[in-house]
Amino acid sequence: MTDSGFQIFIVEDDPWYGKIIEYHLGLNPDYHVRRFETGKDLLSHLHLKPDLITLDLKLPDMKGDELFLKIREYDADIPVVVVSSQEDIALAVKLLKMGINDYLLKDDATKDLLWNSIIRIRENQKLKKEVESLKEELGKKFTFQNTIIGNSQALQKVFGLIEKAITTNINVSITGETGTGKEVVAKAIHYNSKRKNKNFVAVNMAAIPNELIESELFGHEKGAFTGAVARKTGKFEAANGGTLFLDEIAELDPNNQSKLLRVLQEREVTRVGGHDKIKLDVRLVVATHQNLAEKVKKNEFREDLFYRIMGLPIDLPPLRERGNDVLILAKHFIEGFTQDNGMPNISLSKSAKEKLMRYQYPGNVRELRAIIELAIVMSNGKEMVADDIIFNNINKEDVFMLEHKTLKEHTRDIIKYYLKRNENDVMTTAQQLDIGKSTIYKMMKEGEL
């Protein structure tokens, strides 16, 4: 579309009818209509990039379908509407299969039908452009620089693995505590791989009841079971050519594990209640916060499926093991939140940095983000100080801090908590709490710990 409007080329050898269409479409000031009497004449003007072409089928120099193919050769995206007096259904079907956008019969209603057809085509074009630009934005959004933030060694290792995943089609299994960014990594792999122009489809296995998983993943035909009122495309089919992300894969029950294994082995899927086999070309990325190998040992997860989906394992480090990444991420979240809310950027005071670095983040990056966003709101709008930062985690290990206890009881609980975290290493615990190790030994001796 040009800046000055929507350019429509009419190919019509009947000057009378051409003039009617020209006049009618010209009632829209946004439309710039130009008429050509022959196919050759049109072809020599395609460089002017029309936004839409209407085509008569009986032209003096060539047949309409022949001209349509020549237009397609030149530009596969120009919408073409056939306007013809030929009441030939077979021909109309043939042309529609060839890719014309609409077939209209020349009669009294044509001008209105054409008007509506052009509106529909323009809406479709607009949507198509929006989808393209959203895909492009999504691609930019999921570049490494924008999504996986940090410089720690633990993260550098992850970057190396993601690079390997991007350049191949290997399945990927992502492990890591909740909030470490498993889906972010899966998207980064997809949007930086050759599959980026196809779909990224994410499914949380824990969120779907077992009895619905088969239909959700593989789709179903109309009438396959009670309630199947229409055909449903499964997630595998939706992700064909792209990436399927199965989150919380460890939650899959044994029955569905077998079905998933079969689909992965055969690389084809049959909708529930259907017969047609649909060939699949899907990159599978799975994720779990559980130890899948342990589940295999306990016979809770199929060993053959485990090896089939494991592919390239990527273990995401918890935030507490990423050192200064906490501050890099904090600054990133501050920047994002202030920008999104039209606020000036906020700096981190020394006390705030120290407080952030001391915390353990059981909810990982997700929790840090929530803490920072709340702290921005609590801050004076210029600098974030320690008091603005509120740790509100619901991890049961920290709940004891909220209970009403004597100082002695709290002391005991704190030492117990640190001992557990340090695997009963008294020396490390004493150092961390800045107390004498004899204090801990004494409490142990007295049966307080």
């Binding site: 050898d13 009947d14 000057p15 009378w16 009818y17 003039k19 009617i20 006049y23 009618h24 009986k58 003096p60 007096s85 020349k106 009669d107 009294d108 001008k111």
Partner: protein
């Protein structure tokens, strides 16, 4: 009921209030149909049936819009029927006569600006 040779109701509905457009369209029809009729006769002289069909087909929308149904019927016969040489000649002659009368009358029509 009067058997009219043409009916300008559809043309009128196409552009209510725009007399210039309607007068232009009538003039255009007279010019185009006359030249097309000449082309049909030339194609007939060469017995080029495909060309006769194409040209007759091209007349259909305007004949339909101006309600010139008698001539439209003749065009449909050319398009759809396997006419003998003699029948085809007769159809073309009838078309020429109808067109001559219609165009003579249309030359007298003038839409007035409302």
């Amino acid at each position: 009921m009067e058997n009219k040779l043409y009916d300008l109701e559809k043309l009128d509905e196409m552009s209510p209030g725009n007399a210039k457009f309607k007068n232009d369209m009538l003039q255009l029809f007279i010019t185009v149909s006359t030249s097309t009729m000449e082309e049909i006769k030339a194609a007939h002289d060469k017995m080029n049936l495909e060309e006769i069909k194409r040209l007759a087909h091209r007349l259909k929308p305007s004949l339909n819009s101006l309600g010139i149904t008698s001539m439209l019927d003749e065009v449909k016969r050319i398009e759809k029927e396997e006419l003998s040489e003699k029948a085809l000649k007769a159809v073309i002659m009838r078309m020429e006569i109808i067109l001559e009368i219609v165009n003579r009358e249309l030359r007298e029509v003038k839409f007035e600006q409302e």
